[in-house]
């Protein structure tokens, strides 16, 4: 109870059927303790992880991957502190889409958003390396250029799944909120939720009168 808890809104982006929700389900079920937190299928999930002295609570928002709904994504990534951009290593088209998402996030999302590029379904490659259609180097290059975290994962076997979330958790400014605030101030104050909560802070201080 003494651990400070940081809530992180994380949004999942990527083409339909690349395994966005599988990744999250794997991440959540890795946890031994049952997940008592409220969920909406695998579309909305929360999960706590301890990183060093901190508890990070991921609030995971799934987006619909159908191309038809692409224009609705901003409603979901609004105010998100982190994003997973997922593609399928066996589907080049999904990587092209991932590029688009990265670009759009940089243009439209929270300035300080932490983006992890995730190539999923590497388990297929273990059986047959020929299935690979998106080269690791190509993805790494994109990640370098755009300042992204990069992982190749398998939701099926669990490879690298927790690393993705730990990686994000470590990059989230926990104590150094000043910096985040200075840069992201605009975004934060524009956010109604945060903004109003701030004004309600007096009461929150009161009701949180713990130690």
């Amino acid at each position: 109870m003494s651990n400070p808890i940081t809530s992180i809104k994380l949004v999942l982006l990527g083409e339909a059927a690349v395994g966005k929700s599988s990744i999250v389900l794997r991440f959540v079920s890795n946890d031994f303790s049952e997940n008592k937190e409220p969920t909406i299928g695998a579309a909305f999930l929360t999960q706590r992880v301890n990183i060093n002295d901190h508890t990070v609570k991921f609030e995971i928002w799934d987006t619909a991957g159908q191309e038809r709904f692409a224009s609705l994504a901003p409603m979901y990534y609004r105010n998100a502190q982190a994003a997973l951009v997922v593609y399928d290593v066996t589907k080049p088209q999904s990587f092209i889409k991932a590029r688009h998402w990265v670009k759009e996030l940089h243009e439209q999302a929270n300035k300080n958003i932490i983006i992890a590029l995730v190539g999923n379904k590497v388990d297929i490659l273990e059986e047959n390396e020929e299935e690979r259609k998106v080269e690791r180097e190509e993805a790494e290059k994109l990640a370098d250029e755009e300042g992204l975290l990069f992982f190749e994962t398998s939701a099926k076997t669990g490879t690298n799944i927790s690393e993705v979330f730990l990686g994000i958790g470590e990059k989230i400014p926990l104590k150094g909120l000043e910096n985040e605030h200075a840069n992201g101030g605009l975004n934060v104050t524009e956010d109604q939720r945060v903004n109003l909560a701030n004004t309600a802070n007096a009461s929150e201080n009161a009701s949180a009168c713990s130690c």
Partner: protein, 602 residues
């Protein structure tokens, strides 16, 4: 009973836009520079978690105390009545837009939340062995001062005195500017045994849960009350024909009655659209959206579009399950017609998501496309208004996580439908359309109608002001008793009386033309009082913000000049009214006080 929320009801000419305004802006920017904001941020994050039970609290305990709460205590429901009466006062220059109304409600929720805390901590003193009753009430009394701009100063003062006077105070996170000081002198943590801390935490946790419950009841009470008494006011909100048969607020609020009504609410149709009357754009938007919905629905019925394919519904979804379809259909109807409070509606929305769940790991590829499918199929009316209603009137602090997600899904679905145009359909289909259908599908609804404040969709316009501010009439009188420090007392009397005077002055100033403009009033009281601190660093923080926006009002008030140093050529007996209530002052006495005030600002 403290009625901190209402303006003087007796004066029907009272114009709220001229009374003291609460302003959050200066507070934010003022604190930011001191590095206060980040810590608030942290706190905020912590606080989100406090609702969740830790290992200390068993679920039985929670259940036990929660089951007891089925209605609001009279003290709390009374606040709501006062708020509604206040809303019904014909005191606004022009009818309130829905966004202004939402602002009022959110402000009220915040205060109600705060008051719940006070209410609970006053009741719960027996459980908190470590805090003497007097200390607790001492703090909660201070707490009530902390509103708006003056809140910062009241708060910081309270903490700095607190560190000296009350050592038994329980450790609490303080957002005070002097929190460091108070911690170092108090050194309180060691005085509590682990047991005691545990009990204390437990009580806090329970209280938080209770507050949450109270807030839910509050929303339900407010909107059922509005349903009961109607929302007609002489000016702000127009008569609502369907629900305003009882036009006057019954003298004594009966909670049972409202609760009962809630149970039989199947007959009552809460017409959300009546709330949106003064902002017709919303109604128009909804109308066009419904039209589009009907058109799409017909196209799908006629087999002209295959919704499954059109929406890219994943193969895993099977719409042939009739009982599920029925569930969703009923929930949608309930959502739009047979539910009243925003909380209730959000819960139904969550139920809809539950009904749609075929398997545990369902992703939003499925949820969103299904939701759109069902909406087009069942085309519930006023869906858009209901979504907006939740967004505007659900307590913002609680519209988070799962609730916010479900609402976002609904909004996304509506945005999708609203944005469908001919270009989204195949050429073959376009040829089959009637001219009427073509017209409906010609353009996006959002291109035709611009919603107020829609450029930041979710943002409340910061300029919305007309919020009734707690006038804090007891401000001066209430707290003087507890002051030992004469300087404090002085400052407070001064604050109190000056504030009253100013509101008096403002009462007679001509109404400002643009009522959307912030009228930062309490600034001057706080600021002048800060001057007595002898060059407190706060002053420089507080003034730029206030000064700039306040100039115009000063000219109105005639004599007000903020930020000028105060001369102390004041009659010896200037303190003599400190124990009087404002209401008790005669005109002559008021005049005297006013003269003192004039001397001060000269």
């Amino acid at each position: 009973m403290r009625q901190f929320y209402t303006t003087p009801v007796s004066n029907s000419k009272f114009d709220n836009s001229l009374s003291i305004k609460e302003s959050y802006k200066p507070r934010q920017s003022g604190l930011e520079t001191l590095g206060e904001k980040p810590s608030q941020e942290e706190e905020e994050k912590d606080i989100v978690e406090t609702n969740e039970p830790t290992g200390n609290l068993t679920s039985e305990e929670i259940e036990e105390s929660m089951n007891g709460i089925t209605e609001l205590p009279v003290e709390l429901s009374h606040l709501i009545d006062v708020f509604i009466i206040d809303l019904k006062q014909p005191k606004y220059l022009r009818p309130l837009t829905i966004i202004q109304l939402s602002y009022l409600f959110q402000g009220f929720y915040t205060k109600f939340d705060k008051f719940c805390f006070q209410y609970l901590s006053n009741n719960g003193t027996t459980n908190q062995m470590t805090i003497t009753p007097s200390a607790t009430s001492f703090f909660t009394a201070r707490e009530s001062l902390s509103t708006g701009l003056s809140g910062i100063f009241a708060r910081s003062r309270s903490s700095s005195t607190a560190s000296g006077t009350s050592i038994t105070r329980a450790p609490r996170r303080s957002s005070s500017l002097f929190s460091l000081e108070s911690n170092s002198t108090g050194n309180i943590t060691q005085m509590l045994s682990p047991e005691e801390i545990k009990i204390h935490l437990k009580t806090n946790e329970l209280n938080n849960l209770k507050i949450e419950k109270y807030m839910i009841l509050c929303e339900s009470y407010i909107f059922n009350k509005l349903l009961e008494v109607g929302i007609s006011v002489s000016s702000p909100i127009k008569q609502n024909p369907s629900s305003s048969s009882i036009d006057t607020l019954s003298s004594s609020p009966s909670v049972e009655k409202t609760q009962e009504k809630l149970n039989h609410s199947n007959q009552e149709i809460f017409n959300v659209s009546s709330l949106f009357r003064n902002t017709p754009e919303f109604g128009d938007f909804d109308k066009l959206l419904t039209e589009k919905l009907r058109c799409l629905s017909k196209l799908s019925l006629d087999g002209k579009i295959n919704l499954d394919d059109f929406l890219g519904v994943p193969d895993s979804v099977d719409f042939s399950n009739e009982s599920k379809n029925k569930d969703v259909r009923e929930s949608l109807t309930k959502f739009t017609y047979y539910s009243t409070s925003p909380y209730e509606k959000v819960q139904i929305l969550l139920n809809i998501h539950d009904s749609m769940t075929y398997y545990k790991g369902m992703s939003n590829d499925e949820f969103l496309s299904m939701l759109i499918y069902y909406i087009i199929k069942f085309r519930p009316r006023k869906l858009f208004l209901n979504a907006e209603f939740i967004k505007l009137f659900r307590y913002k602090k609680k519209l988070i996580q799962k609730e916010l997600y479900a609402l976002t899904n609904l909004e996304a679905a509506l945005l999708f439908i609203e944005g469908l145009t001919l270009a989204d359909f195949s050429d073959e289909l376009q040829d089959e359309l009637t001219t009427h259908e073509k017209k409906i599908l010609e353009s996006k609804v959002s291109d035709v109608i611009t919603l107020p404040g829609s450029n930041g969709k979710n943002n409340l316009p910061t300029a919305v002001i007309d919020s009734p501010t707690p006038i804090n009439r007891q401000n001066g009188n209430d707290s003087i008793g507890s002051r030992t420090n004469s300087n404090e007392g002085f400052r407070n009397t001064f604050d109190g009386s000056l504030r009253n005077i100013i509101s008096k002055i403002r009462l007679y100033t001509p109404p400002t033309v643009n009522n959307l403009k912030p009228l930062p009033l309490p600034r001057s009281t706080s600021q002048l009082s800060m001057d007595y601190d002898g060059g407190s660093p706060l002053r420089s923080l507080a003034s730029p913000n206030n000064g700039s926006s306040g100039e115009e009002d000063n000219t109105h008030a005639g004599t007000l000049t903020p930020g000028r140093s105060v001369q102390r050529s004041i009659p010896e007996d200037w303190k003599k009214y400190r124990s009087l209530k404002f209401e008790d002052l005669t005109i002559t006495q008021l005049k005297e006080v006013f003269e003192v005030y004039q001397k001060m600002i000269e």
